[in-house]
């Protein structure tokens, strides 16, 4: 398992997606995804923390005894989050003003400690890094998609203030639907849960279809062989 980077990537991005499959990290998912830009920024910050924490945890996994591993992991993660927090405050100040509270809360994001416990302590450094990257990107993708849908329905914009996050070169991403005031509910928490519910249902349907197709293909192969 640990050697097959392709399958690790696939699991992180789709099969074991932090939001859509494991339903972890619901707090930042609901709180931050009021716009696509916020979701993207939060996802990237979490990805950075996740990759480095997975590498560090994997590197020290033989030297830390299992009795004290949790406090050690938490100290590691907290240090990383503090670094990210300060870096964002320095270089992405406008985004930091929006996300500030939640950046600090990455420490208690269950996805990060979860990956440390479920993957990094059992696998090598490179595999753990790939896992952290895959999980982080899956999380980023989920947050961005939810954020974009909520932003579009709730405010009639897409990627508002993206240039704050990505630089002025990405200002072309910012779009506004003319003459649409937006349904405020979608920005509020109930809208977030409703959108998440519909996306979960959509993923289940897709998974079922793919499974059915795979089963059919296997059936055909068996049939052809006999």
């Amino acid at each position: 398992m640990s050697d097959n980077y392709g399958s690790i990537m696939k699991e992180g991005l789709w099969g074991q997606n932090v939001v859509f499959a494991q339903l972890l990290a619901m707090c930042p998912t609901m709180a931050v995804t009021t716009s696509g830009t916020n979701g993207l920024g939060m996802g990237l910050a979490t990805t950075a923390v996740l990759v480095v924490s997975n590498i560090l945890v994997s590197a020290i996994r033989h030297t830390v005894s299992s009795q004290v591993r949790i406090p050690v992991f938490v100290v590691l993660i907290a240090t990383l989050v503090t670094i990210v927090d300060m870096a964002m405050n320095a270089w992405l100040h406008d985004l930091y003003k929006v996300l500030g509270l939640f950046i600090a809360l990455i420490v208690v994001n269950c996805a990060i400690l979860g990956r440390a416990e479920a993957f990094a302590v059992k696998n090598g450094v490179v595999a753990s890094a790939v896992d952290g990257l895959a999980m982080g990107l899956g999380f980023t993708g989920a947050l961005t998609v939810i954020g974009l849908i909520r932003e579009f329905l709730g405010a009639g914009t897409l990627f508002a203030q993206a240039s704050n996050l990505l630089g002025p070169a990405f200002a072309f991403l910012e779009m506004k639907v003319p003459g649409y005031g937006g349904a405020l509910l979608m920005i509020l928490p109930p809208g977030g849960f409703a959108i998440l519910g519909f996306l979960l249902a959509g993923k289940r349907i897709l998974d079922q279809r793919m499974e059915a197709k795979a089963a059919e293909a296997v059936g055909c192969a068996v049939h052809a062989a006999t």
């Binding site: 005031g181 349904a183 405020l184 509910l185 509020l188 109930p190 409703a194 519910g197």
Partner: protein, 365 residues
Amino acid sequence: MSVSTLAPAPIASPHAHGGNTVSRTMFRVQMALVPATLYGFWLFGWPAFFLWALTILSCLGFEALSLKLMGSTRIKGTLFDGSAMLTGWLLAMTLPPWAPWWVAVVGGFIAIVIGKQVFGGVGQNVFNPAMVARVALLVSFPVPLTLWVAPLPAAGVAGPDFIHGLQVLLGNQSIPDAMTSASLLGYTKTEMTRGVDLAHSLAGNHGALFSWVGTRAGSLGESASLLILAGGIYMLFAGIITWHTPLAVLAGLAIPAAIGHAVDPAHYLSVSAHLLSGAAMLGAFFIATDYVTSPNTGKGQIVFGLGIGLLTWIIRTWGGYPEGMAFAVLLMNALTPVIDRFIKPRILGRDRRGKPLDIPEKQGA
């Protein structure tokens, strides 16, 4: 699929079918709504009729779509059992009569898909679908949802004809300022925030008496409180609803209103104003009595109704919105399972605690 779809013929005797069906009950509730609805059409003209029809059509459309997506085998039967139509009807009764078309369509989607089918369809929903849609619309689009028109006969303006009515529905024609008006609850709330107390703000023609006649601004279901009440009384006598919920809702609203008004008439509306304004009658007789989302026992329904009435009064008096019936109903819907847990019907042959009754054996057998 839900487990509780039509059960096969009862196996263990003795069972007799009462002859009642979902569609029959739904049809009779709709009959009870007809007078108030027709009166509303007369008050607010063609736009009100178009909005009503479109709300029901969109509810039926989304119901059919959901059933098809879920692979239901009896789409037609479920679609025409009247439940989706009643949901649409009730929702239309709570909307501003001149609201644009997309309010009806979005409302239909929220009521049927998010409020009902997501939970498993008819009989499975936790919250009253019409109220879910009403609250979602109010929170999402505060401006169109609080834009009331003055009733046409009272305003002395000729109503829009058929074509103009359609244009109002399509949102092409903005409502002339002369025709906009505030409902009683909205008006007093606005005046109160400006520092004008009730004694002054109600001195004009916004008196509570207008409520009895029903020629006043508001949704279809709040203008004609008296006709709604008549429909509710018909349902009581027809045995569709019991007295517990409506009486408890009205009592829960009237008692604190009476106390408040007695203490400080300048800041608390009178009992009649509370009972005859907003969705009080519609909520008490048609919304709160929904079989699916209210408790099973009479005692439970009394607790449920008192809660709705009290919460409505609290929201109307101190809340940010002028009307709180929809919020109150949703809050008490959420509490319904708890109420049902603590107030259970007695099982036949057992006492309240579930122990078998101590029935002495017949002597000399």
